[in-house]
């Protein structure tokens, strides 16, 4: 026997899946994201070479389809003679790790601040929101650069810097939802039964924010990956010789005329992943938001 709740959930899920699969862009985005995750996880199996293996005398070879290219190095080699195809695949792993860490941190901090700010209101709310306003006054990349200047470059520090930049959007989103939800009957009922504020926040309010959180997490992931690549490009993020896409781009800049593929390929990877996440996130939002349903 199914309870009515289970039936309701199944109905909602089916409706959601119908909506989502109707959206061709979203499905395409999901495909890109799945491809990216698969590459990242299976990097040790798929990548023909290691990311740091140097092939002396095989510098800046073109991709296999161009003249002088070979099947041994599908997408050619870089200025040190490392296999570009392998480095791009290992780069997917770095980007996935960095992106997920960033989103995890900003979701955690941003959501906590948003819950507290919205639920308690008053002075707490004023202090937190003014702090968020201050963070938002600094253009995203600039704020990340300043934080990196303080704590130093490197992968972990880049993650912290970009995560801080991502906090405000989570806080504002959750706060707006909390303000609406805390007036609802089920929250009132929990209060009447004497549930503690923390219990109400975590057990009653937070689960009702899941939908918006999932959407924001997807979009946050794309922003995180993009910002980390930008930091890497400016020399302030992940450091060489890590096969991070942003660094691969900036390393290839001197060869922009002679070996344009070295510049083109890492950027295409960044674009594909960010585009996939944005398409997927947009599709999720449309399918989850009842107000936008056609």
């Amino acid at each position: 026997m199914e309870t009515t709740q289970e039936v309701g959930f199944k109905h909602n899920l089916k409706e959601f899946l119908d909506h989502f699969s109707d959206n061709k862009g979203a499905v395409f985005g999901l495909g890109l994201v799945m491809g990216f995750i698969t590459l990242a996880i299976l990097a040790p199996i798929i990548a023909p070479h290691s990311a740091s293996e140097v092939f002396p005398g095989q510098l800046r070879l073109p991709p296999f389809w161009a003249e002088g290219g070979s099947m041994k190095f599908l997408l050619g080699t870089d200025d040190l003679g490392r296999d570009t195809f392998s480095r791009l695949i290992w780069g997917a792993q770095i980007s996935l790790f960095v992106g997920v860490s960033i989103v995890f941190l900003s979701t955690l901090i941003g959501t906590a601040l948003g819950l507290i700010s919205g639920y308690f209101g008053g002075k707490v709310d004023i202090v937190i929101m003014r702090f968020i306003d201050i963070l938002m006054a600094y253009p995203s990349i600039l704020l990340a650069i300043i934080v990196v200047a303080v704590i130093g470059p490197g992968m972990v520090n880049a993650i912290i810097a970009v995560a801080i930049v991502g906090v405000p959007s989570f806080t504002r989103l959750i706060r707006a939802n909390v303000l609406e939800l805390k007036e609802r009957q089920f929250v009132m009922a929990a209060k009447t039964f004497g549930a503690s504020p923390w219990r109400i926040m975590l057990k009653e309010i937070l689960p009702n924010c899941t939908a918006v959180l999932i959407v924001q997490t997807t979009l946050g992931l794309s922003e995180g990956i993009l910002s980390t690549a930008a930091l890497g490009f400016l020399g302030l993020g992940v450091q060489a010789p890590t096969p991070e896409w942003g660094i691969m781009l900036s390393d290839a800049r001197p060869y922009i005329e002679s070996s344009p593929w070295l510049v083109t390929l890492p950027g295409l990877c960044i674009l594909a992943v960010v585009l996939g996440l944005n398409l997927f996130g947009d599709g999720l939002r449309d399918a989850l938001d009842p107000k936008l349903k056609r």
Partner: protein
């Protein structure tokens, strides 16, 4: 109605002040957290002499308590004195205003590019909803929105400079020309009577050619945002009863779209454009680095690499205050055109 407008303005102003104070505190203290010793950086070798070191520390006021330093800094800042750059020894204010026109010129061009293409594209997509051009335009705008602009700039260089050879790779003007700075805006200065008399229109065209690629690189994300916003806002208005009425009255399709629908769709579009000006700085940091554009963005990145403390401090304070002021103005304008939100 008037009193509610004033109340709204007052509330917004009251919110503005603690934020501005907060920004000044944040900018001041975060600089002090950057590792390294500014005095040693300024003195170089001479800093190894403790006497010289102490004298410099005293003359910079760095021996005073931090809060007092903050007070002095803000007192001077209000009077327009943000200290001197360690690298160039020039006042930070002079350095900022020497570079700001370059960033502003590029930013304005990028916004014009975004608006001139984005609005017609958005209106077209809305009017031809669910047609193939609509899919192409909206697909394209999502690609634009996801664009890593530091890569996009390089791709533009590969296509237009390396392969086609029609645009320069960096800077604001060909080294062949000498344009004296009057306003700081190259497009204006290159048309000054003196330049026109000496060198004709060539410097002006050189300035335009230098602007093309950075404008496209910096304008791509705003273009995508404007196109998407225009489309959804025109779509909404097209469904409104008064537009249906205008259609029913037999007015021409173009008149319905441009006179009735578009005018009313402008409010959210203008808001988005206002908010985009804040994100121009983010674009400037990356675009200026790629195209060696001598503006604020490149200057800040270089200062951070060089640990030029007074410049970083003044620069981020300027920028953050500017973003806050622009957002404040957008809020006010928005509430003026749309009284519902007050």
């Amino acid at each position: 109605m008037r009193s509610s407008a004033l109340k709204f303005l007052k509330e917004k102003l009251i919110q503005l002040i603690p934020t501005l104070v907060g920004i000044s505190l944040f900018s001041f203290f975060i600089i002090r957290m950057i590792p390294g010793d500014p005095v040693m950086l300024m003195l170089g070798e001479r800093g190894s002499d403790p006497k010289v070191y102490q004298e410099m520390t005293r003359s910079l006021g760095l021996d005073k308590p931090v809060l007092e330093q903050y007070g002095i800094y803000m007192k001077n800042a209000v009077q327009g004195d943000f200290g001197r750059s360690i690298v160039s020894k020039r006042p930070v204010t002079d350095e900022f205003f020497a570079r700001f026109p370059a960033t502003l010129e590029l930013g304005v061009c990028a916004m014009i590019f975004a608006i001139l293409i984005g609005i017609p594209a958005g209106v077209y997509a809305a009017v031809h909803r669910n047609s193939i051009p609509d899919y192409i335009l909206m697909g394209g705008s999502l690609v634009g929105y996801s664009m890593p602009i530091f890569w996009w700039g390089l791709i533009l260089i590969i296509i237009f400079s390396v392969n086609l050879g029609i645009t320069p790779v960096s800077g604001r003007l060909s080294v062949m020309f000498d344009v004296p700075t009057i306003t700081g805006f190259m497009l204006i200065d290159s048309l000054s009577p003196q330049v026109l008399a000496d060198e004709g229109l060539a410097p002006f065209f050189s300035a335009i050619r230098h602007l093309i690629l950075p404008t496209i690189a910096m304008g791509t994300i705003p273009l995508a945002v404007v196109a998407r916003m225009t489309r959804s806002s025109v779509l909404e208005v097209l469904r409104a009863p008064y537009v249906q009425t205008a259609k029913a009255k037999g007015q021409s399709f173009n008149k319905v779209v441009w006179k009735h629908a578009f005018r009313n769709a402008l409010i959210p579009i203008v808001t988005v454009i206002g908010l985009l000006f804040g994100s121009i700085i983010t674009g400037a940091i990356l675009t200026e680095t790629i195209f060696s554009w001598p503006g604020i963005g490149k200057w800040l990145v270089a200062s951070i690499h060089a640990r030029d403390y007074p410049v970083i401090q003044g620069g981020i304070l300027f920028i953050a205050s500017m973003v806050i002021m622009i957002n404040f103005l957008v809020d006010i304008i928005y509430s003026y055109v749309n009284p519902k939100i007050r």
